[in-house]
Symmetry: none
Subunit: 403 residues, 2 copies
């Protein structure tokens, strides 16, 4: 028996699952406060007081997750067992119809000099239209017998490649070709185990075929850097596992991609919290689970801008009122990981979580922040992958286990 | 090496392990309190202040356990690996001498109309004497070549069946035949995998042989509904695993059954806490571990009666004084799961735990309840199956692990 999957039954409950990306922070020594401690959050504070609260550990103590593992864990997928590659996330993010066994690759178009040395790893962040043109050039130029080859623009200098050859046993395990610094030559695609030799060979062939036409496509010459080379496998959907008709309302492609990989319906077009609220409202009757993704705390944390992250948190605090007015039965507010402004990057720090339902224990806590969740939380500190079990329990969607 | 089992040594310590069934609750929004918060519990409060305290998660976050998994976890048996069937619990509860491989089944005698439709799934809760008569009728009527067949009365309309056919490979995996509603026909015994076909076939044959005599045994006719069809396997006893001579002092058959399955001695006859105290006192010299089971908080919680659950907790608080006067070296007070009156059923909510010993840390907490355990507990929130390790450690019964 698999828990909680094998205990799931359906009901009429609605679950709002708000992921404030990079929500957690750490103490800025000059202020003696985390971003959440510094933020004025009357809505979250009041919600936390009448909710179960605690801290979640995204993967394992000390382990900093990327967005993939961070979200997979939140949605109840073991992030170690389901470590999804960046290439797959990129392809899913643009809604490319991936098939089991596809090799997906994230591409940066770089500019290179006459000898092939990298001038700009991002080609000056060319407009997306220019990226579309480059993808067409590559698409026309490249032909590899026995392999279907797709290249699609993503945004600015970024694109996605998919290799498809059912039955050919394509395997991931080819290192990035991006040397990470300007002035260096792109690396060769090299397999890190024998099973990945075929993919490495195909990518070397691809680079040979594409490099000429791309060199002629601009001045200076363009050249594709390959990253996050990963094999796609089908994950059991949230519908299959938990019986949930899930709607994702995110503004960034990557989070839409993650949602698609887990079988969620994905709303398109919402650009801000106001439009996201409208999208949730529109989907209310046809869905049980609403994944609201809010990017700003992570983005401002990565900028290293403490005050801007505080402001981003205060903004969503205000906006949450509209979502709560929909009267979801269960409300989760948390993050996929911490992004302390002090560090300017993702971190491993545990993430505060609010779990509200008609049968939640009332923490009675006076503020919603990392330190108060540790001191006054009712749920303790626990692995993020167990959050979905709690959510389903609070939603009344789980049968009793055992006699 | 298996922990803690392989580190166990014997000593003279006495462990009182008090399970207040369904102890945990959740916040009643109209009161802003849980049952434990509302209860006046001076004995538990004082004990908690000078004890280690915390919260235990019965199975996994969000998973609501039945009594079997709840108790198995408390006694250090992984509840997922040892998910015991209801039929086995029922048979063990009446002290039926189960053997490895037996198929045990819980029976409800229902009443049916002339066409076989169920009138009352509990046959009006017939007296136990009537159930004994029906079991004798069935026992005489049923004969299946190659299979030993036992049917025993339990209480009122409830009975237990055991099928025994060593070497015949009887397997569990036959669905309940109880349609759960009056007005419906009983279901056929259907195997949910090929290995269980033989048991399904035997049970269909049993129903054919039993139905005639049972129809003639009363007006309206009786018919047996089969539930919790489960295979018995022998569990390593608490004596084998932990070296403990355990005495169970419970008033309800099911908890005696669980205790027998784990090799405890089972006291018979105690009907209330006073008699349970006397039973513990009588067994003091010959046992190391005293499982005291107190049913009332669960029963009142299932009634949805907040005030009655509060009263049940206050009653046991007073009664605990007598048990503490025996001066056990280690005292545990906890529950097998939560039964919030707000929900009127078992729940997944974590359960407060007190662990008292001469070497416990003193939490210094001011009250014993769910919220205070979360805020001021010394043990944090942890899986219930790890509690026995702590108990054995505090009892001085574990060797050091490693050099």
């Amino acid at each position: 028996m698999r828990l909680p999957d094998d205990l799931v039954h359906d009901n009429e409950s609605r679950i709002l699952f708000a992921v404030l990306d990079g929500l957690g922070g750490t103490t800025d020594p000059s202020r003696g406060l985390t971003e959440l401690q510094a933020a004025r959050t009357p809505v979250l504070d009041a919600l936390a007081a009448r909710s179960d609260t605690g801290l979640i550990v995204p993967v394992l103590p000390g382990i900093t997750p990327g967005s993939g593992p961070g979200h997979f864990a939140l949605f109840g997928y073991d992030p170690e067992e389901n470590n999804i590659g960046r290439g797959v996330l990129e392809a899913a993010g643009i809604d490319f119809p991936l098939q089991e066994g596809d090799i997906a690759i994230r591409v940066n178009f770089a500019t290179v000099d006459g000898e092939g040395r990298i001038i700009d790893r991002r080609a000056g962040r060319i407009p997306t239209e220019e990226c579309e043109r480059l993808c067409e050039i590559v698409s026309t130029a490249v032909s590899i017998p026995g392999v279907e080859f797709f290249i699609r623009p993503v945004k600015e200098h970024r694109a996605a490649i998919v290799l498809r050859a059912p039955g050919e046993g394509l395997e991931e395990g080819v290192a990035d070709t991006d040397p990470q610094v300007a002035g260096a030559f792109p690396l060769e695609p090299v397999a890190d185990h024998p099973g990945a030799e075929k993919v490495a060979l195909l990518l070397r062939e691809f680079l040979i075929q594409a490099s000429g036409p791309l060199a002629g496509a601009g001045t200076p010459a363009y050249f594709p850097l390959l990253r996050g080379i990963a094999k796609y496998r089908v994950y059991p959907s949230m519908r299959e596992r938990f019986g949930l008709r899930a709607l994702a309302v995110a503004t960034y492609p990557m989070y839409k991609g993650i949602s698609r990989l887990l079988g969620m319906d994905v709303h398109e077009g919402a650009r801000n919290l106001e439009e996201q609220l409208e999208a949730v409202r529109s989907g209310w009757d046809d869905h049980d689970f609403f994944f609201l993704h809010y990017k700003a705390p992570d983005a401002r944390g990565e900028d290293g801008d403490f005050d801007a992250k505080v402001a981003a948190i205060e903004d969503v605090d205000t906006a949450l009122t509209g979502f709560l007015a929909l009267e979801p039965d269960v409300v989760v507010v948390t993050g996929d990981h911490s992004t302390p402004a002090l560090m300017g990057e993702h971190s491993w720090h545990s993430v505060p979580v609010i779990l509200s339902s008609p049968v939640a224990r009332h923490s009675g806590m006076d503020r919603f922040d990392e330190i108060t969740c540790a001191r006054q939380g009712t749920l303790g500190t626990f692995p993020a992958r167990h959050l979905m079990g709690l959510v389903l329990g609070h939603a009344g969607r789980l049968n009793k286990f055992g006699a």
